[in-house]
């Protein structure tokens, strides 16, 4: 089976998942992002003409503020024309199918689609459908993948920890429903992190999670021991209705990241979160705002990483 993300020369055609990509492509993206960050004084990234004359369509079938906005900023810094479509509230409710919507946007001469959809596999479906000169970036599909989030997390980890090959990384929370967790796991294992852990109650873990190459823990004390990086996941409120958890209070008591639990990890551990955070549910404010938190840096780096992905797809050398 051909990897639908690569063209016949082994170059990145679409970014749909961090799974199955060679590490050289992941490093290429991280290095490009570094160049965008380093090239800018005072953390501000200058506008470059890489996507001049190109149209980037932000097609969001599911609501998002942060991801859509950072993609928009990234595309504009690359001098692209950006069109934002919030389809959650338009065409599909009128009965138009996903691929009809995509065909219509292709007819408007889109060069790149940034897609978010509530169903796993939606980005793959679109990538399979569009003409070969069009690129698709998955901005989150169901529970499957959110590759740019994982890549900006990798960028942040490298920024603070320099290397991947000597790290212990723990992912904490609702792995079962999380596209972020799946993409993080694939990216971390591809980049050579020797030990990736997941920490969660059994109701929030997929049944075969260990086959993704992770060690499974059910308590924070042993799970966080000697960890270099803690990746927190967002807990959706609806988990309490589906009998996955009894209450937010009990979850916070056993799995919420507090200063006390963070002390089990290494002293220089960094804490990350993809946002938006539920303070007092999965993370305590003192940790979220504490010195070990790099959560706001993640957001800033997110722009550079998304610029890097788009410039790579556009064939910029």
């Amino acid at each position: 089976m051909n990897n639908p993300q690569l063209n016949k020369n082994g170059e990145l055609q679409h970014l749909l998942s961090t799974e199955g990509l060679p590490s050289r492509i992941l490093y290429d993206i991280l290095d490009r992002a570094s160049a965008f960050v380093d090239g800018a004084g005072r953390g501000e990234i200058r506008k470059v003409p890489i996507l001049h004359g190109k149209s980037v369509f932000n097609v969001f079938f599911e609501n998002s503020t942060r991801t859509r906005t950072t993609f928009e900023i990234a595309a504009k810094r690359l001098s692209a024309d950006v069109v934002n479509l919030n389809i959650a509230s338009s065409s599909t409710s009128k009965g138009e199918t996903l691929l009809d919507t995509v065909d219509n946007l292709c007819a408007m001469h889109a060069d790149m689609f940034i897609v978010r959809h509530a169903q796993s596999g939606a980005a793959h479906l679109i990538a399979k459908h569009v003409a070969p000169e069009i690129h698709v970036i998955n901005a989150g599909d169901g529970r499957h993948a959110h590759p740019t989030q994982a890549l900006l997390d990798m960028f942040t980890i490298r920024h603070y920890k320099k290397e991947f090959h000597n790290l212990r990384v723990a992912i904490v929370g609702d792995v079962l429903h999380s596209r972020v967790a799946r993409s993080q796991i694939h990216a971390l294992t591809t980049l050579g992190v020797p030990e990736v852990r997941v920490i969660a109650p059994k109701t929030l873990l997929p049944s075969h999670v260990e086959q993704l190459g992770v060690r499974v823990f059910h308590d924070m004390e042993t799970g966080l021991r000697d960890v270099d990086v803690v990746l927190m996941l967002r807990l959706q409120n609806e988990r309490m209705q589906g009998a996955a958890l009894p209450s937010a209070q009990e979850y916070f008591k056993y799995y919420g990241l507090t200063q006390e639990k963070l002390a089990y990890a290494k002293a220089d551990t960094i804490v990350m979160h993809p946002g938006p955070m539920n303070r007092g549910i999965e993370i305590d404010s003192s940790v979220a705002d504490g010195i070990q938190s790099v959560i706001l840096a993640q957001v800033t780096f997110g722009i550079a990483v998304r610029m890097a992905v788009m410039s790579l797809l556009a064939g910029d050398k």
């Binding site: 089976m1 639908p4 796993s120 993948a145 086959q211």
Partner: protein
């Protein structure tokens, strides 16, 4: 009409026949095998040299989509597909719109099918009204109208007391109850086997225990009520074990498997191939191996196509939203042969899974070629390769996980009631 089929390799698993013999057909029946009967003059001759002559195939699960879903397929299109696949009798599940829960609907379907004079259609009636699992249908009336068994199709029957009473009532009249085991709570929203692939792709999953829990309930109630129980589409190794055990303990139970599940596993979903969105879900390679073993042991009695034509638009959407199902009538024979070649089985053993064994479950006199038997016959070329392509399929449903694949074995002639209904051009 007298037909003489010459020089074919005649295989009749029920009567343990496998040799090159001529077969003579007259007045819709098998008149003689071997020597020409005295005074026989053929109106039509078929040269079956190099071909295999078997009883017409019997498919235990083929959705014809009528009434109600004519945009997916019509009786006409699917009946043509059936005979092109060598299928001369088929059972259709009651999940049409409206549901097959009224004798009038069943009579109409039988009448429409008869008018087309293609394959024989045996409707499976709804066990409960509207398949809602609450009230029993008029099973005796439905049986008079032509239903050969009763089922919930893929709809759950969660109320175990209703299920027990449905079984007792069916057992009163000796009717068969056909059930697909799946616990609806454990399977809720699930679209793929709870395994490695669903974990990786982030697809809502259906655990194996959804099958085994429902199956254990059905088997226990089967024992309690003494009903003639048929388990549809077993999909897991654990499910097979339960059936093996029940059979060993003398329970009156039979079982079928879908042809897709003896060839495919969750791995075939690949990158969200919606053609592999099937019911039940494709399970692990270990499960597939167990299904094959169970077929050879006879724990699984029959292979069905589970033909469920789906229109293209309903597949061109994300995996979980895509409608489950695949076309199958024209693939049943080549996929049974593929299994046979892979497992190095005899033609007779393989063919029994789609002829006499299925006839026994349907409780009809078909699926064999004894003298005097109804001349429902399939003649196929076992060595001809063909590519599964949209244009090559007569079914209105073009979706199958096997699309683009080369399969071995092609039907050349199909006879129903001693008439040549299909001939390959």
């Amino acid at each position: 009409m007298n037909i003489h089929i010459r020089n074919g390799r005649l295989i009749d698993p029920k009567n343990k026949l496998d040799e090159v013999q001529d077969i003579y057909i007259s007045a819709g029946k098998v008149l003689a095998i071997g020597k020409t009967p005295f005074g026989f003059v053929a109106d039509s001759e078929i040269d079956a040299s190099g071909l295999v002559v078997v009883p017409g195939l019997i498919d235990l699960a083929a959705r014809l989509r009528e009434p109600g879903y004519e945009y997916k397929a019509t009786l006409e299109s699917e009946m043509h597909a059936a005979v092109a696949g060598g299928i001369t009798s088929l059972a259709c599940p009651p999940d049409t719109d409206p549901v097959l829960d009224e004798p009038g609907l069943v009579e109409m379907l039988k009448h429409r099918a008869r008018e087309l004079s293609q394959a024989n259609v045996y409707p499976v009636g709804a066990l409960t009204y509207g398949l809602k699992g609450i009230e029993l249908t008029e099973m005796a009336e439905l049986s008079d109208a032509g239903c050969i068994a009763f089922s919930q199709a893929d709809e759950p029957l969660t109320d175990t007391r209703v299920l027990m009473r449905a079984m007792y009532y069916a057992a009163t009249f000796g009717f068969g109850v056909w059930l697909r085991p799946q616990d609806s709570f454990l399977a809720r929203n699930g679209v793929a086997h709870d395994g490695e692939v669903a974990t990786r792709l982030g697809l809502p999953a259906i655990p194996v225990c959804a099958e085994t829990i429902a199956l254990a309930t059905m088997l226990m109630l089967g024992r309690e009520t003494g009903v003639k129980l048929h388990i549809c589409r077993v999909s897991s190794a654990e499910g097979v074990s339960l059936i093996r055990e029940a059979k060993k303990n003398g329970l009156n139970v039979t079982c079928d498997v879908s042809m897709n599940h003896i060839h495919l596993s969750e791995m075939d979903i690949g990158y969200f191939d919606s053609n592999c969105h099937l019911v039940p879900p494709l399970r692990s390679q270990r499960d597939r191996a167990a299904l094959r073993v169970a077929l050879q042991e006879g724990v699984v009695d029959s292979i069905c196509s589970n033909h469920s034509p789906v229109d293209e638009d309903a597949k061109q959407i994300p995996f979980a939203e895509a409608e489950a199902g695949a076309t199958g009538l024209e693939l049943l024979l080549p996929l049974v042969l593929k299994w046979m070649y892979e497992e190095k089985l005899s033609l007779s053993d393989a063919v029994s899974k789609v002829t006499c064994n299925s006839a026994r479950i349907l409780n009809i006199d078909a699926g064999h070629l004894a003298i005097g038997a109804v001349a429902d016959i399939c003649i196929f070329d076992p060595d001809k390769y063909w590519r599964v392509e949209t244009g090559a399929l007569k079914s209105q449903g073009k979706n199958t996980p096997f699309i683009g694949m080369e399969l071995r074995g092609k039907v050349r002639y199909t006879l129903v009631n001693g008439q040549i209904i299909y001939q390959e051009h």
